[in-house]
Symmetry: D3
Subunit: 239 residues, 6 copies
Amino acid sequence: MRPSERKPDELRTVRLTRGFTCHAEGSVLVEFGATRVLCTASVEESVPPFLRGKGQGWLTAEYGMLPRATHTRGVREAAKGKQSGRTQEIQRLIGRSLRAVVDLEALGERQIIIDCDVLQADGGTRTASITGACVAVHDALMGLVTSGKLPRNPMREFVAAVSVGIHKGAPVLDLDYAEDSDCDTDMNVVMTEGGGLIEVQGTAEGAAFSRAELNALLDLADSGIRRLFELQRAAVHGG
Amino acid sequence: MRPSERKPDELRTVRLTRGFTCHAEGSVLVEFGATRVLCTASVEESVPPFLRGKGQGWLTAEYGMLPRATHTRGVREAAKGKQSGRTQEIQRLIGRSLRAVVDLEALGERQIIIDCDVLQADGGTRTASITGACVAVHDALMGLVTSGKLPRNPMREFVAAVSVGIHKGAPVLDLDYAEDSDCDTDMNVVMTEGGGLIEVQGTAEGAAFSRAELNALLDLADSGIRRLFELQRAAVHGG
Amino acid sequence: MRPSERKPDELRTVRLTRGFTCHAEGSVLVEFGATRVLCTASVEESVPPFLRGKGQGWLTAEYGMLPRATHTRGVREAAKGKQSGRTQEIQRLIGRSLRAVVDLEALGERQIIIDCDVLQADGGTRTASITGACVAVHDALMGLVTSGKLPRNPMREFVAAVSVGIHKGAPVLDLDYAEDSDCDTDMNVVMTEGGGLIEVQGTAEGAAFSRAELNALLDLADSGIRRLFELQRAAVHGG
Amino acid sequence: MRPSERKPDELRTVRLTRGFTCHAEGSVLVEFGATRVLCTASVEESVPPFLRGKGQGWLTAEYGMLPRATHTRGVREAAKGKQSGRTQEIQRLIGRSLRAVVDLEALGERQIIIDCDVLQADGGTRTASITGACVAVHDALMGLVTSGKLPRNPMREFVAAVSVGIHKGAPVLDLDYAEDSDCDTDMNVVMTEGGGLIEVQGTAEGAAFSRAELNALLDLADSGIRRLFELQRAAVHGG
Amino acid sequence: MRPSERKPDELRTVRLTRGFTCHAEGSVLVEFGATRVLCTASVEESVPPFLRGKGQGWLTAEYGMLPRATHTRGVREAAKGKQSGRTQEIQRLIGRSLRAVVDLEALGERQIIIDCDVLQADGGTRTASITGACVAVHDALMGLVTSGKLPRNPMREFVAAVSVGIHKGAPVLDLDYAEDSDCDTDMNVVMTEGGGLIEVQGTAEGAAFSRAELNALLDLADSGIRRLFELQRAAVHGG
Amino acid sequence: MRPSERKPDELRTVRLTRGFTCHAEGSVLVEFGATRVLCTASVEESVPPFLRGKGQGWLTAEYGMLPRATHTRGVREAAKGKQSGRTQEIQRLIGRSLRAVVDLEALGERQIIIDCDVLQADGGTRTASITGACVAVHDALMGLVTSGKLPRNPMREFVAAVSVGIHKGAPVLDLDYAEDSDCDTDMNVVMTEGGGLIEVQGTAEGAAFSRAELNALLDLADSGIRRLFELQRAAVHGG
């Protein structure tokens, strides 16, 4: 039995609230159960130096966690003066995942900066961030279409992500903190609407995992992410 | 006329939402109009090195602003590797203001750490932070009473703060961003329920200000802060 | 009785020594009793990036304290790799105070950088810094007039500052270290020759302060700063 | 055809030179073709603070690249004052991979620190690092056995890693720089001698990848890593 | 002819003012012509961790230059967040020079921290610092004798330093800035009263130098430093 | 007797291996006995900002030590976030030494960056670095001649360096770690092929040294460096 009494292939309640803050071009509060992440997408009319004059845009991401988003208070990275390796790993992952579904040439010489800030953490903050950021970026890009700066939205398809893992011997979908801190294998999967894999990151926390387990986890992730695409579409299209 | 069409002595709509996040011992979302700050109070059962063995507690504060809390995206301080002078000024002010109303000896050898993180900014984030943090600290301290760790709440009285300023020649209460960026004098006032002043910080942004103007501003602040105490009491006591 | 046996409204002996060092365009050693601060004003023929091409100048300030300016040795900020919040607060205050009396458009596209370095500390270093920096900036600007780069001195009037506080229940002027570390309320006041207030920063270190006390302190500050203007004028005009 | 004219399932020439430097308890130069990494394992008779008194050991890793290990010179991280996100990601991966095969309780309260420094880079530095570090750690642990500090070697089995990818549509083993910078999908696989997976990190650099492609890559990796175990055993046992 | 019209073996006017500031246990303003350095020696009743419990003391030095000590303003190292290589080189040299003449075992488990801060620079700041710091350390150690903490002064002999160089083909003593920035070879020599050499640091700025030139420079330095010992003794003993 | 049983004027076995790595324009592994330093010279077709448009080139150096190059593991400077004073001292020395023999005007507006990374340390790493870097820079410059970018090699003559010291009362050449950590005086000497001195840095580690001892050390260094020039020429010209 899972600590949350969910079925092995059951997602937590997922909510996507658009327009959560008012200044950003895209602003989404994403909730996976008690995990809550504020994802904003900001449009800047310039690109980083390495891309100037190359006729294409860029998209990058930053990630942070409020000090008391967690059970015990963590050190504020701004006060410490550096971002942890974990933070950097996550923000690089978010950036890569979103760049995979945006046509950077169609974007033109402008930059989208995603900020994912965890207000409350209960496991799965990086996959929630990708899922929420996708909607925030979609909204920011739609704004460029609406204002006539772009003829059409350069996002080719949606992208979403979920964590899966082997908990007490059983493959389960969408780990919460209780499961995450007590599982043998933890895997994050990022997929596009078309079913293509963008990232697969599986880590043995305790015992190594087999090819059969890997396959079971990928099947679970596939089913979960398909459900997330429905929620993204409902959020955006009122579906 | 004020940009917001408020009367000179009119506060914005102020809301204090307790229990906004689940892990912190005290967690309050404070809103002054469109300004929204998440204030958490964390209890740690130890004190900083300079106070060890002295039989008293400590209270300190940290402040941050999400990169896209503002009209244009600001640099993430964690990415930059240092906190700005403005950030440090504000967090020192919040800490001093709250220490003024908590009996640190009665607190015992433990520490309260306040985190004020601005989710959305529209002027007055530091005074909103103090006002919200007061309730968060109150709640964290009540938790220590409820769990039997303290015989009574060591917060002696509430503390609240508001900004006032001279906008287009007229003294006005509770500046929003539109007023703040276009005013001659800007003042932050921190008061206790008993009417004592904790901090008065007045700055001429353009023309210098006179003693008469200073007095008019203090009168406005006094009336505004009294209203804030009512809201704090209502939030805490169900009033 | 004050520890120094001064009367409540008595300044310490204040000295302003111009030309204390030879390279800076303005260089003043300011002494308030045992507090000694070297204030230099440097002229640079360019402005920071955010002002380029806007046809106006800029003035900024930096503050430091020699490690053994104090009773016990403090950490050297350069060795530690960062400036404290206190340092940043003070240098921002000095910069704002001087900008309030200099016509930045008349200055043209050049920058004045003030450095206030405390050689010996005995309380009131920030107010001494402002008072001394005013003369150093005056001298640097006069140099621009003398060399024909400016038609007239863009400093509109002098600015000076003093600390006041409530010590053992009594309002007193110009706190030295012994008083500063044992007072209930500490206030720094910055004024222009015309009597306008530039900054009022009052802080309750212990008990809160009342409006009546605030007024008494402002009266004391007003009388002290008027005396400082006489000393500045005497230093500059040989008065 | 691969740029190097290798067959799809052909490793580059791999060499493991033990005792490459003289001070470290384990020191291995690992070469995968032109990629050369110096891996040292240092034994320290203490553990990090978070493990003190818990009766177990620890193993951690650091990674670096000499500035001119690459085609164009990179910035020296020590001069820049911070390690890149890529560096942190890699050193975390190396540490996790080796901890997976060492019995930390059997190690006792001591720490193994792995340093992987890239002398020359031609793709696959992180997987070469893991493969070489395994032998260096083995040697360092054998030293503890030889000196009587441990009754037996706490390394349970060997661990090795290889990169695989889809280059011009075809799955290939052990990417060199020419392939790595021109492939659609890049995957790093870490396995134990027993055939268990420790890490699977697949990333779509261009087009997304399918489950079928993922499986083909895992098959290739499996065959390559089995060959690496032979080379590790030959290096250690003279095989 | 030297720019200053001094003879080749002529020192600038050297002054040593003891008790220049009031808090430090030793405080000396040293002037070599227009070069002015404030040297303080602080006594701390503890030693750095690496010496704890070893029954000996320590002596270390820090060096800084006020931003406008020079012709054009330099960046404040505290603002930049790091000390330059030049600063570190100089403070290491000062520390080594003074440790050479103090009996660290006789000092007991305490530490002397020297701070040399350049108020005005005109060449030779590092040699002036050593010469002035020697007197400051002497005074701080005498204070320990006077207060009964030490039976006798652990400084075995004085140490002093001077720069020499080859300027327009001629060896000259005690370079000022004009000479220093236009000389072929620059050498700093540190000697003890007994005539022993502590440091010899010669650098060809332009053309290489010969053994004969090296010898001529060492002769000049020897004569200059002997004169500095007289001035140190006069300062200390009233001579 | 020396710990290594060498004669007082005997160098360790010195080897210079050109082309040690493949990407750098010049790449030399230099060995002085067990001391091994990888020296690379990189050519960049631009100069630092302070030299732009001045029609001359630049040459600079960086130095590092792998964490386990030494008997006990040192902290990785990249992880610590700053380079030690020792590192900065050494890299400044290497840069100055090489600039002394390269005609920077003949080099044109390009920069040579030297990286000296110590793979294994046994004393004398800075002098080995200079000796090896000379050959690496020579090779990089020859590459510019070969490719037609320069008409002739702007290196005027070779430069080499060696350490000497007084060990157990006797002057000895080319200190290894055992001698270096137990000697009274340590001197590094940098010379050009023409016999000119570039740097002489002598330091009394224990007792001060006399002029006679200084002369004996310089004689030893002279004989050793002449032997190093033969080895450099043999390496480059196949001699």
